[in-house]
Symmetry: C2
Subunit: 359 residues, 2 copies
């Protein structure tokens, strides 16, 4: 049997659950490799993937005998087929964070069992990565690094944020990325003060600050990178903030390793922000894997211990609404002794020069 499904079966046994309905598509991919729409059902006698006719062929192409997963077409299943899945079962786990209230009611009707919350059982298992998972993230990081190094040498006079974002995405997709990990952020001038700015038609001008936030997926695994550059010149006001943000990132990196308590590390950084009277606009970081934002979150309310082979993005930022913002972010592998940076592109204050407009 598929080794991850086997792991899940053991977990369910120790939780005294007779089975589980896995609805989160990322968890389905983690367990089975399948990206097709559907739900994975761990039943006493078999593992079932219920999909529909649009996907049944590609699902059957991907599953091997060793997976021990049977694919069913939902349209060919009757009420009695559904009720038979958990026959004589009592308690079945479900993912309360991924099914809607309406689906919950439907599951109750369909499966006629007692549904038990599983509280991120699979998400917690995903925190510690295997070697080949880290290799995929590393590859995604390399592609992202290259895209950044490329773009800062190829911004032409008159280019808009949107055009720059598009060039970044094109570079990643043509250089090995399967997909984008999220929509690329290119925020220039005062737009940089919004942590989640969407690229606009604003044209880059001399003196601008440009905030980049970019990442791609390789075999399903994400990278996450943020950088700030200055166009032709760097105003004095940016310097101290840049140094502060970079220092915060370094302090977090140095404090985090296998066994670190996230809460205490982040509490210290929040104290630095409070001393400067800088508002804290978002978490200091997050896990990266099949999801771009996953466990663990680097927040002061997370009283949990970091573990070896977690992969995390550390991304302190400082924002002055209506004025500007600076965020620096890298993706790291957590080890016994510290954090290894998987995104390696230049992090010194960088002044870029615009190319001439195309004829």
């Amino acid at each position: 049997m598929n080794i991850k499904v086997k792991w899940l079966r053991n977990q369910l046994m120790s939780l005294k659950l007779d089975g589980m309905i896995v609805s989160n598509p990322v968890n389905v991919k983690y367990l089975t490799g399948l990206e097709e729409e559907g739900i994975l059902i761990i039943a006493p006698k078999e593992n079932i993937f219920i999909t529909d006719s649009r996907y049944i062929e590609s699902v059957n192409r991907k599953l091997t005998i060793d997976d021990e997963i049977i694919a069913y077409d939902t349209k060919k299943m009757t009420k009695y087929d559904y009720e038979g899945i958990f026959m004589i079962c009592e308690n079945i786990g479900f993912e309360e964070r991924y099914i809607t209230y309406e689906q919950y009611q439907n599951y109750l009707q369909t499966y006629q069992v007692n549904l038990v919350e599983t509280e991120g059982l699979i998400e917690n298992q995903r925190i510690v990565k295997e070697e080949q998972e880290i290799a995929c993230i590393q590859k995604a990081c390399e592609i992202t690094d290259s895209a950044f190094e490329y773009i800062i040498k190829h911004i032409r006079k008159g280019m808009t944020e949107k055009e720059i974002a598009f060039e970044i995405e094109k570079f990643m997709l043509l250089n090995g990325a399967d997909k984008l990990a999220f929509e690329t952020i290119v925020a220039s001038g005062t737009n940089s003060s919004m942590p989640h700015a969407v690229p606009t038609n604003r044209r880059i001008i001399t003196g601008d600050i440009i905030q980049f936030d970019m990442g791609c997926q390789y075999k399903g695994y994400a990278s996450d990178l943020s950088r700030v550059v200055f166009v032709e010149d760097m105003a004095d006001e940016y310097e101290a903030v840049y140094d502060f943000v970079l220092e915060q990132q370094e302090k977090i990196q140095k404090a985090l390793k296998d066994g670190s308590n996230i809460k205490s590390v982040i509490k210290n950084r929040e104290a630095d922000y409070q001393l400067k009277n800088f508002p804290i606009m978002h978490a200091f970081g997050h896990g990266v894997g099949l999801d771009i934002h996953e466990l663990p979150f680097l927040k002061s309310n997370q009283d949990c211990t970091l573990r070896e082979n977690s992969v995390i993005a550390i991304e302190p930022g400082v924002y002055f609404p209506g004025s500007f913002g600076i965020r620096i972010e890298d993706t790291y592998q957590v080890t016994k002794n510290g954090c290894i940076n998987l995104t390696k592109c230049v992090k010194d204050k960088t002044i870029i020069h615009l190319l001439e407009e195309r004829a």
Copy 2:
């Protein structure tokens, strides 16, 4: 007050609800224009958008006094602020199809009210489009048409499905699209037999059938277009199937107008499929708007009446697993007298010729 929020307030009154929590981001955009993360709360005395510090600035830039919507930063709100929102209220509507079971439990705790299912109240309102909504869809359709006309003249020998998909997406994004409406499908040869194929590294060869399914967003509104072309030559086996699919689309188009019953129209088409022994792998179509798939769905279980100024995609398809598939899809505006095709690119059987490889 924002006219759509006013409409919603009237609906709630007639449903005897004291307020509503709008969680579906597409519904929030429909009502307010906001695309930032957050929830819209219709409370007895005010309209509130609860977001967080990442978005508060851009939300405040977008909202006008006329909207009569106040933006709050969730982090600055206490337990008592939340409980105060629906003070003295009894029944509050919620979107049971968009919040998770966990969120439902949180809402109960947070707002201390009785939550009542609203059964797609806003989604149903979105079915009939206003003039400027149709204009946006029309623009998205024009961009998509142009991308198709462009790509079939620019496929080079040796190109892969992925590369072709990327060129289509690039064309749309550089020619006015804000975003893609979904990930472009380019499925060649036997891959075409999977309705939801993902582009692969398979290279196009002479004799191939290529299935395209593509669309973009303009100001949030989507387009949806599917076409099939043949490379250098068309095998006989394709001809009859192509004719059948095109005929099905024409029959549906002719049968649909303001007042048509969807169920009876689609039942007739299903009878044609059964006569030929063709499997029905997906719905015959769907509404198109802020969501790429929205109400109404063209399925024989939809016993509902089509209305003027709905926008629908009609997309019959026939698939032979492991062999090939053909789907033809256009986006239409429903009128009093029929359906107006908003996607206008060539629909005759098209044989394309490959360009030479780049030096």
